[in-house]
């Protein structure tokens, strides 16, 4: 291989970190062809915590990725056979110090990430919002129960009494209406197989395991329509298992609820007259 070919190959390998970083920057900038490929719009109060964790880990691995790529390039460029025909090879039995360093450093980094994210994890999965009832603090009851089944999300609102499983529950499917600027608690169940309740815009993802009740909570800060998707292969219709999250102001939500409730309680019907 001649020198030029060597140079070409080393430059080619340099393109790996360059293109890798470029793609990410292009996606972040919402550049042409990569629209909507970066993180979905965040509408959760705590969502930025998850996002910053994501970005932190991305940055960390990015630095390593670029560093490794550049080092590879440098070795290829500097020590190619064609340019170093007369150089003598030096044998080494390794460096103990170096090995200790590259063992300890990643271990310490991993440990740091593990500790650093604990608060975010606890907020997302352990510290359920509370309310005070009769001077006692207790976990906030869920506003609705979502039951995944092949292949839809069945939704059951607690109704006026705030308790799920009573006669004033409102039933609907695939369309979850919620009020904004409130701590929302949902209870997630499944009727058949594993599903995963995923609200990308609220940075909520929770596997639903048969026989278990899972709670998720979040605080949306923007009105609008967003996606509910299933993030766990649940059978042939997994791709169909989509829902719509409609975030409304409290008044709109109450109005919608009232309307749906009246519809659910429809008690008389008069057929239309034939138009002659």
């Amino acid at each position: 291989m001649n020198r030029w070919a060597e140079r070409l190959w080393s430059l080619l390998f340099l393109m790996v970190p360059v293109a890798g970083v470029g793609v990410f920057i292009w996606a972040m900038a919402d550049g042409y062809g990569m629209r909507g490929h970066w993180l979905p719009e965040n509408i959760d109060e705590q969502g930025k915590v998850i996002d910053s964790l994501f970005l932190f880990i991305l940055g960390l691995t990015g630095v390593i990725f670029v560093g490794t790529g550049v080092a590879l390039f440098w070795f290829l460029w500097r020590y190619g056979a064609a340019g170093n025909r007369d150089a003598r090879v030096r044998y080494t039995h390794g460096s103990h110090t170096l090995e200790v360093v590259w063992s300890i450093l990643p271990a310490a980094t991993l440990l740091f990430i593990a500790i650093y994210q604990m608060d975010a994890w606890a907020d997302a999965k352990i510290r359920r919002p509370t309310i005070v009832v009769n001077g006692q603090e207790q976990p906030k009851p869920p506003i609705a129960e979502i039951t995944g089944r092949q292949f839809e999300w069945r939704i059951r609102y607690a109704g006026r009494d705030g308790v799920i499983g009573t006669r004033d529950d409102l039933f609907t499917v695939n369309e979850l209406h919620l009020p904004v600027h409130e701590e929302i608690v949902l209870v997630i169940k499944t009727e058949d197989v594993l599903h995963s309740f995923f609200l990308p815009n609220l940075r909520v993802k929770q596997d639903v395991v048969p026989g278990m009740k899972q709670y998720v909570w979040f605080k949306p800060i923007r009105t609008g329509q967003y996606d509910i998707v299933c993030a766990e292969l649940c059978g042939w219709g997994h791709y169909k298992m989509r829902g719509r999250l409609v975030l409304q102001t409290r008044e709109e939500f109450d109005r919608w609820f009232e309307q749906e409730w009246n519809n659910q309680e429809l008690r008389s019907y008069t057929p239309p007259e034939p138009e002659e």
Binding site: Q150, E152, F171, N174, K240, R267, S268, Y269, T270, P271
Partner: protein, 444 residues
């Protein structure tokens, strides 16, 4: 593993790696020539090209109702093979002439019916054909995108996914629907079909299509009606051949159909069916408002009495505890056509590949809080009042207006009490004594 003993012709590289030193056992991969790599690549490229041009793409067509044909044969007498072929061909030709193909559906004009209300050609276009987007962004092939893999391209409930579902997907071709507001034998209203598409049928594999744009759902409803009407016409023509003898399709080909009396007959068949569908919207059973005490303890008690009583007799099928275990050996209308109690006949139906193994229809477990046809009080009222003919649930026997007061048949208030009882069941404690067991009831 002939390849191990004789590796000629197997291998991927022309270059043999240098033998690895390893004691006495020397490795030699003998006779590994260069594979005709170029030919291999050419074949691969060919496959990819074929795939990209969609060559070999099948022409979609409606399946003839083979099952009903066999059913008719069992009922009258089997046709000789040549006549059978003749019949199949003539029927197919006639159906194509009347209704077109899955890619180009066509709906016959019927006098006095605005077909845009039954099967709007524009909406049929949206739902029919292969899946694609028009240049304008209008969708095409909605039926094949959302429905066909279960309900089948013919609407016979025999798509590839069908066999994995319980209950099986609906066969539209009888024009029979379970969850509707009209009396048992009538077609469903537009609203009924809309509601099923929006809510799905909980407890079955029919999902909700709430997220589809409304016009897409509308197109699908029109297309489902189209498939139903097409199926019903096909069945009536088969009946005409085997039973009434009005039109013998074993004899009459498409050419001979042009005789005026034949055209008249076919026209009248189509007109009858289409008119019924066009009138369906006005056939919905009115639902009077419930009595004052609806869902009071008194109302629920009365409903419970009726539930176990001799007139409504819900207990017979839904069981002593309303768990749907009263009787479990019946079949629904679609399955009955496969003559499920006669194994050799079932085998004949199954051999066509168009039928699925018969399953019993199960009365609903009323305690699950899952209501397939909807949970609104009006839905339950319709279910009880009109019955679900196709599944064997009979309509309530209603007391006529001029009946004497001691007539035991049901009034609309009675039906409301039954609704109240049914609605209370999911919240009822199953371990509480339901009712005296049958053997004690007589003595009371």
């Amino acid at each position: 593993m002939s390849g191990v003993g004789n590796p000629e012709g197997i291998g991927s590289q022309g270059r043999v790696p240098a033998p690895i030193a390893g004691g006495s056992a020397e490795v030699r991969i003998g006779g590994l020539g260069r594979l005709p790599v170029r030919r291999f690549v050419a074949v691969l490229v060919g496959i990819v090209l074929l795939a990209s041009f969609g060559c070999g793409a099948p022409v979609a067509e409606f399946r003839t109702n083979e099952l009903y044909l066999i059913h008719q044969e069992f009922k009258s007498e089997p046709l000789p093979a040549s006549k059978r072929r003749e019949l199949q061909q003539n029927l197919k030709d006639l159906m194509v002439a009347l209704f077109g193909t899955p890619d180009e559906p066509y709906f016959p004009e019927v006098e006095g019916v605005d077909i845009r209300r039954v099967c709007d050609p524009v909406k049929l276009q949206m739902a029919a054909g292969p899946v694609r987007l028009e240049r304008s962004g209008a969708p095409r092939g909605l039926y094949r995108e959302h429905c066909a893999h279960c309900h089948g391209i013919t609407g016979d409930g025999r798509g590839p996914t069908a066999e994995f579902l319980n209950p099986y997907p609906r066969d539209y071709r009888r024009g029979l629907y379970k969850f509707k507001s009209t009396p048992a034998a009538e077609p469903p209203t537009h609203e009924d079909l809309q509601r099923i598409l929006i809510n799905g049928i909980p407890g079955t594999a029919m999902p909700s299509f709430r997220l589809l744009p409304e016009q897409d759902r509308e197109a699908l409803i029109h297309y489902v009606r189209y498939l139903s009407i097409r199926g019903q016409v096909e069945r009536t023509l088969l009946e005409a051949t085997f039973q009434t003898g009005d039109l013998d399709l074993t004899e009459i080909s498409l050419e001979q159909l042009k005789a005026p009396e034949n055209i008249e007959f076919v026209k009248s068949v189509v007109a009858d069916i289409v008119t019924r569908w066009a009138q369906a919207d006005y056939q919905a059973t009115p639902v009077p408002p419930p009595p004052e005490n609806f869902e009071s303890a008194e109302s629920i008690r009365r409903g419970r009495e009726l539930f176990y009583g001799p007139i409504a007799n819900c207990v017979k099928c839904h069981g002593e505890t309303a768990l749907g275990d009263g009787q479990t050996t019946d079949y629904d209308e679609w399955t009955k056509e496969l003559m499920p109690n006669e194994p050799d006949k079932v085998a004949r139906f199954l051999a066509t590949g168009a039928a699925l193994p018969p399953r019993n229809i199960r009365p609903r477990n009323l305690r699950l809080n899952v209501f397939r046809g909807g949970r609104r009080p009006v839905d339950l009222y319709w279910r009880i009042r009109n019955g679900i003919l196709a599944s064997g649930m009979p309509a309530a026997s209603m007391k006529p207006d001029d009946a004497p007061p001691d007539d035991p048949r049901l009034t609309s208030d009675d039906i409301w009490h039954l609704v109240a009882y049914v609605r209370s069941l999911p919240y009822d404690d199953l371990s509480a004594p339901q009712h005296l067991p049958v053997y004690q009831r007589e003595r009371q």
